[in-house]
């Protein structure tokens, strides 16, 4: 009886693994078959000349260039906003916080990490309305608001990766500079942070990947179907994931749909490279940054 159960468990495990692999393969193959034909300069630049577009002399209307630029700025801005706050909070938690504070903040960041992105998007949306009504008409859902909201979304990742990579430094490294008369801050700046850099950057890569793929937040905070290359922080913008969402529900001809598949491949490429970078730097730390243990 027991033996049968064991055999069954093994059989089911293999079957399930196979099913999972099969699902993933079908998914990828389907995407490649549909997406590869549209791959090329025209996917990105449409009918405009690539060089002119890159020099800012021509505008793209039927390619994904504006969406790519929008996503790039969005990700860059969110990283710039989230990185200092996240790293500083991580340093505080790892190096200064008392055990009670550690627990308290740890729980809070866990909660923040678990909040659905649409809720954070809603927060950003409300914030933009608030700013609009109380400060200046120029505010509204825009690139800056989206980047701010995305920063809130990914701060827990950066905090956690910073905290964990500092905490897992061996005490050897930790006390070297201290024994040489370093102040706490000197120790952090000259020894701990440089040694924890790979962990911190793996967290940063995860954060960037998350920013690049998230659709729910930007859906509420300023992404639009047509905006061209964003001209300022307060302008609306296009973004790759939204483009894919938009095309999926309202493509008007087969060419647009095929562009959608192409955009899927581009986004998939960007995100998987970012995530693989993160795992390459610090595999285990990345797991825990994403899913906490």
């Amino acid at each position: 009886m027991q033996e049968v159960l064991e055999k069954l468990a093994v059989f089911l495990s293999w079957t399930m693994t196979l099913v999972l692999c099969l699902c993933l393969s079908i998914f990828l193959i389907y995407l490649l078959i549909k997406g590869l034909p549209s791959f090329g300069a025209e996917l990105i630049f449409g009918k405009a000349e690539p060089l002119k577009v890159l020099l800012g002399q021509a505008r793209v209307f039927d390619g994904i260039f504006p969406a790519m630029v929008g996503t790039f700025f969005l990700v860059l801005l969110s990283a710039v906003l989230a990185l200092p706050v996240g790293v500083c909070s991580g340093i505080y938690l790892a190096e200064y916080a008392s055990p009670v504070m550690k627990k308290l903040f740890g729980s809070l960041f866990d909660i923040l990490a678990g909040i659905p992105s649409i809720v954070i998007g809603l927060f950003g949306f409300s914030l933009s309305i608030f700013l609009h009504n109380h400060f200046s008409d120029r505010f509204g859902p825009c690139l800056l608001i989206s980047a701010l909201s995305l920063a809130v979304l990914v701060i827990p990742y950066i905090v956690r990766s910073t905290q964990m990579s500092l905490e897992e430094l061996p005490s050897d490294i930790r006390r070297t500079a201290l024994a040489l008369g370093a102040t706490r801050l000197q120790n952090i700046a000259y020894v701990l942070i440089p040694n924890a850099l790979s962990g911190i950057s793996s967290g940063l890569f995860l954060a960037i990947g998350r920013c690049a793929e998230d659709t729910a937040v930007i859906l509420l905070t300023g992404v639009v179907a047509t905006a061209g290359v964003p001209s300022s922080l307060l302008s609306q913008y296009e973004a790759l994931p939204f483009y894919i969402y938009y095309i999926s529900s309202q493509y008007s001809n087969p060419a647009e749909l095929s562009n959608g598949y192409g955009a899927c491949l581009v986004l998939l490429g960007i995100c998987s490279v970012l995530f693989m970078f993160a795992y390459g730097l610090k595999k285990h730390l990345s797991y825990r940054t994403l899913y906490r243990v």
Partner: protein, 233 residues
């Protein structure tokens, strides 16, 4: 030789969480002597050393009672009461660890690192101090042509001597050594022993070691940490 007291330990106990690690230790260490401390492992020899340069002061769960007095620059200070900023204390009470711990940078940078921490940036002074410290630690001849190489490429014994030199660069009055030879082969250990003895002219040394013969060889005074107490032998 002066025979003034350098360190006075008076009824010191150490607790980690709720465990008593060291119980009511009393001792005196004289200037320009080398005191060797021995004893079975797990009795808190390293812990004891760490109390002299305040290594435990920020560790959650660690607690000391009693009093330690150290005479620095003619003034008595207490590391346990934090009468002096810890970085300043540690510049004068240097420490060497069991595992040589050069930082992942060049030999020259490693040597200049404590000076950088102390805010000394004048190139000439730095160079002069670095050279003197390397000479004191029998390392200058071996490394003078390769100061820009990574410190991690040195042999184990050289690494440990580099760490000693790095500690000496701030001209400490006391040098705490935690099992400085136990990760080295016999030959390298011999060099370190010789080096430590020669340093008595500069500082007061406390050397923790579990090699009884080594302890006898180098110590002016030998103490054993047993059953949580420190006894002279």
């Amino acid at each position: 030789m002066e025979t003034k007291d350098k360190i006075i330990v008076d009824g010191v106990s150490f607790f980690y969480s709720s465990n008593r690690v060291i119980d009511n230790v009393n001792a005196k260490f004289k200037t320009h002597t080398l005191t060797a401390i021995t004893g079975p492992s797990g009795q808190g020899k390293s812990t004891l050393l760490g109390m002299f340069n305040g290594m435990w002061n920020d560790t959650p769960g660690a607690r000391c009672t009693g009093e330690i007095q150290i005479r620095l620059g003619g003034r008595w200070v207490s590391p346990l009461k934090k009468e002096i900023p810890m970085p300043l204390l540690r510049r004068k009470v240097a420490m060497i660890f069991q595992e040589p711990n050069p930082l992942p940078m060049s030999i020259a940078k490693n040597m200049a690192f404590p000076l950088k921490l102390a805010g000394i940036r004048d190139k000439n002074i730095v160079q002069e101090k670095v050279q003197r410290a390397l000479e004191q630690s029998f390392l200058w001849k071996e490394v003078k042509g390769r100061l820009e190489e990574s410190a991690l490429n040195l042999s184990g014994g050289q690494k440990q001597r580099l760490c000693i030199a790095r500690a000496l660069v701030l001209e400490p009055e006391i040098l705490l050594c935690d099992e400085p030879t136990s990760s080295l082969d016999a030959k390298a250990a011999g060099v370190i022993e010789e080096l430590l003895v020669s340093l008595k002219s500069n500082c007061t040394l406390l050397v923790v070691s579990h090699y009884m013969d080594q302890v006898r060889r180098i110590g002016d005074q030998v103490m054993a940490l047993e059953d949580q107490g420190l006894k002279r032998i």
